[in-house]
C-alpha cells in the first residue's frame, strides 16, 4: 500500500512536470475503428540523485500519443495493463496475448549525469515468436531468454534534456515502422503561419515538432506571410513575404536565420516549390503580364518559363521523380489541375471531376495527388489516384486549403475554418482518421510538413 502511494505521488508530480503545453494542440476528431491495440507502458525512471524524481518529459507518453495520432493504433489504457516490466526477462508473454495487443513497448530512462540520460526501450509482438532468429540470440546481441524471440525493437540511446522529446519521436518512428512496415513521420516538423491581429507584428512564421511542441519563431512581420515550403534537406524554408509592400520570395536558413531574397520581379512572386534534388525552385511570377510557372536554377538564378497561357497558372508541385510538375490553371474556364514536363511542351489536364480543383500536391510516394476540391459549394480535401484517376473526397470541413502531405505519405495536414477560427487539421490518406490542431493564440494557416529529418 505504502508502495502504491509513493508511486502515485511520483506519478502526480511527474504529471505536473509534464504539463508544459504545446502551442498548437492536437485533438483527434474522428478515429478509426480498426485502429490496432498496443500497450505502451510507463517507463521506469532511475535518477542519479535523490532530488530529481522525473525526466524532463514523459518518454513513453510521447510514444503512445504519436502512435495514437497516426490513426493506426489505439494505446491501451494504462490501468488495464496486466504487468509493468522494464526488461525482456520480466515480460509475461501469455498475459499480453490474453490482453490482445499487437505490440508491447516498455523501457527505462536512466539518468547518468544531471541532464543526461540513457534510454532503453523494447517492442515485443506477443503473437510472433519468430521475430528474432535463433542465431541472433545465440550471438549474444539479444538476451538469452525465450521472450527474446518476440523482440521487434531493442534499443538503447543516450539523450539529454534538449533532445529528449525528439528522441521519443524517433522511438515512435522505429516502433511504427516495426509494426506497419512503413516509415514513421513523427520525428518531423511542421512550418505554419500564425496570425494574431492584435500583435505588433501580426504575422509569424513558426516551426513546431509534428505533435505541436517546441514551437520556434522563424520570422515575423507586420505584413502577410504566405506559402512556406521546406527544402528537401529540411535545413531551409522558402516563403512569400509582403514586407516590402508586395509579394516576394525569400529563402531562410532555419539554423542561422539568414535570409535571401530570391524573387522580386515586377508583378507578384509566389508559390515557391523546391525540386526534389534541391537545386531548382518552381515559382509563379506575373512579370510577363500574367501568372506563369517558372523554374529557377538556385545556383545561377536563371529562369526557365514552363507555361505560356493568358489564364492563371499557379501552385506548382513537383512530381517526386523531378521530371514533371502539376499546377493549377483556369485555362478551361475554371481552375483544374494540369501537368507539364520540365522539358517543356503542352500541358495536359489531370483532373476532370468537379468545377474547382486547385492547390494540388504530389504525395512523396508519387502514387497520389491531393487537392482542394469544390463540391456543393464547399472546399474539401480530395485525393486522386494517379494510375486510376479515381478521386476521393476525404473531409467534411468546408473551407480547406494549403494541403501538405507527410513525408511517409500517410497523412495530409491542411488549413480550414473551425467555427470562427482558422485552424490546422489533419486527415489520413484514406480519410478515415481526422484531427484538429487549434493554436493557443490567433489563427494558424499555410501548414507545410517537413521532409524526413535525419
Amino acid at each position: 500500500m505504502k508502495h502504491i502511494c509513493k508511486k502515485l505521488m511520483i506519478l502526480c508530480i511527474g504529471l505536473m512536470a509534464y504539463s508544459a503545453q504545446a502551442e498548437v494542440q492536437i485533438y483527434i476528431t474522428e478515429g478509426r475503428d480498426d485502429a490496432r491495440p498496443v500497450a505502451v507502458l510507463p517507463f521506469k525512471f532511475e535518477s542519479a540523485s535523490e532530488v530529481k524524481i522525473s525526466p524532463p518529459h514523459n518518454f513513453s507518453q510521447i510514444i503512445a500519443d504519436d502512435l495514437e495520432r497516426s490513426g493506426k493504433f489505439k494505446p491501451v489504457d494504462i490501468s488495464d495493463l496486466p504487468q509493468n516490466p522494464s526488461d525482456i526477462t520480466e515480460v509475461d508473454i501469455d498475459a499480453w496475448k490474453e490482453l490482445g495487443v499487437d505490440g508491447v513497448v516498455y523501457g527505462v530512462v536512466k539518468e547518468t549525469a544531471p541532464g543526461k540520460y540513457m534510454v532503453s526501450y523494447d517492442l515485443i509482438d506477443p503473437y510472433n515468436d519468430k521475430a528474432v532468429m535463433e542465431s541472433n540470440i545465440a550471438s549474444g546481441s539479444y538476451p538469452l531468454v525465450d521472450q527474446s524471440f518476440h523482440l521487434m525493437v531493442l534499443k538503447t540511446k543516450l539523450v539529454n534534456d534538449d533532445n529528449f522529446r525528439w528522441a521519443a519521436h524517433i522511438a515512435a518512428d522505429e516502433i511504427y515502422e516495426a509494426l506497419t512496415g512503413e516509415r514513421g513521420a513523427f520525428a518531423t516538423q511542421i512550418a505554419y503561419v500564425q496570425v494574431d491581429r492584435l500583435a505588433e507584428k501580426p504575422y509569424e512564421l513558426n516551426v513546431a515538432d509534428s505533435d505541436g511542441f517546441n514551437q520556434t519563431k522563424i520570422f515575423s512581420s507586420k505584413q502577410p506571410i504566405m506559402s512556406p515550403t521546406w527544402s528537401p534537406d529540411a535545413n531551409k524554408l522558402a516563403y512569400v513575404s509582403f514586407e516590402n509592400g508586395r509579394s516576394e520570395i525569400f529563402i531562410q536558413t532555419i539554423a542561422t536565420g539568414q535570409r535571401e531574397l530570391i524573387a522580386s520581379f515586377k508583378g507578384f512572386n509566389s508559390a515557391p516549390a523546391w525540386s526534389p534534388d534541391g537545386t531548382k525552385m518552381a515559382m509563379v511570377l506575373s512579370k510577363d503580364g500574367n501568372p506563369e510557372i517558372y523554374v529557377m536554377d538556385l545556383a545561377t538564378k536563371s529562369l526557365k518559363r514552363l507555361t505560356r497561357h493568358y489564364a492563371i497558372d499557379t501552385e506548382p508541385s513537383w512530381n517526386p521523380d523531378g521530371k514533371s510538375l502539376i499546377f493549377t490553371s483556369d485555362r478551361g474556364g475554371k481552375p483544374q489541375i494540369y501537368r507539364v514536363s520540365l522539358a517543356g511542351g503542352d500541358a495536359e489536364r489531370v483532373t476532370f471531376e468537379g468545377r474547382y480543383n486547385a492547390g494540388a500536391e504530389f504525395a512523396p510516394d508519387g502514387k497520389t495527388i491531393v487537392m482542394v476540391h469544390q463540391s456543393n459549394g464547399n472546399f474539401h480535401v480530395a485525393a486522386q489516384d494517379i494510375e486510376t484517376g479515381n478521386l476521393t473526397v476525404l473531409t467534411t470541413t468546408s473551407l480547406d486549403e494549403s494541403l501538405s502531405v507527410a513525408p511517409n505519405s500517410s497523412m495530409i495536414i491542411f488549413s480550414t475554418v473551425d467555427g470562427r477560427q482558422k485552424v490546422l487539421s489533419a486527415v489520413s490518406m484514406d480519410g478515415r482518421f481526422k484531427a484538429r490542431l487549434p493554436a493557443n493564440v490567433g489563427e494558424v494557416k499555410a501548414p507545410a510538413w517537413s521532409p524526413f529529418i535525419l
Partner: protein
C-alpha cells in the same frame, strides 16, 4: 475571344457614360443692351439653377471619389455594370490631377491562397484596364495583389466573403 468581347463592352460602356455625363459649357455672355427686369430675373434664375446643378454634380463626384472600393463575384474579375460610373469618375480624377494610384486586388478565403493571389491581381488589372480605356496613363497605375491575405472582414460568412472580394483604389 472572351477577353476581347469584354474589352469591347467596357469601351462601349465607357463611351456611353462619357456621352451622358458631358455637360454643356456655361453661357458666358449676357445681353447688355436690354435691361428688362423679367429677363434679368429669368437669367439669374437660370444661372442659379445652373450653379446649383454644377454644385450638385461636383458634390456627386466628390461623394463618388470618397468610395474607393469595388466588389466582385466569386472567382470573377468582371466589373459589375453598377461600378462603371464610379471607375470613370476616379479615372477622370486621376487623369485631371496627374495623381498616381495603387490598385489593390483582394480575394475571399475560399479556394486556395496562391490561386487567390493570382485572382486578386487579375481583378486589379481588370480595373486598371478599364481606367486606361478612360484615358489614364499606365504609368499612373500600380497593381498589387494581396490575395486572401488581407481581408476587410475577417469573418467566414457570405457577407464577409463579399466584402473581401474587392479592389481598393489607393491614391498615393
Amino acid at each position: 475571344m472572351k477577353r476581347s468581347v469584354k474589352l469591347l463592352m467596357a469601351l462601349f460602356a465607357a463611351a456611353t457614360l462619357a456621352a451622358c455625363s458631358t455637360t454643356e459649357p456655361a453661357e458666358e455672355t449676357t445681353d447688355t443692351t436690354v435691361q428688362q427686369d423679367d429677363a434679368t430675373n429669368a437669367e439669374a434664375e437660370a444661372l442659379a439653377r445652373q450653379r446649383a446643378a454644377e454644385e450638385a454634380e461636383r458634390q456627386r463626384i466628390a461623394a463618388l471619389l470618397e468610395n474607393t472600393t469595388i466588389y466582385f463575384d466569386f472567382d470573377s474579375d468582371a466589373i459589375r455594370s453598377g461600378d462603371m460610373e464610379l471607375l470613370e469618375v476616379h479615372a477622370k480624377h486621376i487623369q485631371a490631377t496627374g495623381k498616381k494610384v495603387v490598385l489593390e486586388g483582394h480575394a475571399d478565403e475560399r479556394g486556395t491562397p496562391e490561386y487567390n493571389l493570382a485572382l486578386g491581381e487579375r481583378r486589379a488589372k481588370s480595373v486598371a484596364q478599364l481606367m486606361r480605356t478612360y484615358g489614364v496613363s499606365a504609368s499612373q497605375i500600380e497593381v498589387i495583389s494581396f490575395g486572401e491575405e488581407s481581408p476587410a472582414n475577417p469573418g467566414h460568412t457570405e457577407q464577409a466573403w463579399q466584402e473581401n472580394r474587392r479592389v481598393e483604389i489607393k491614391y498615393q
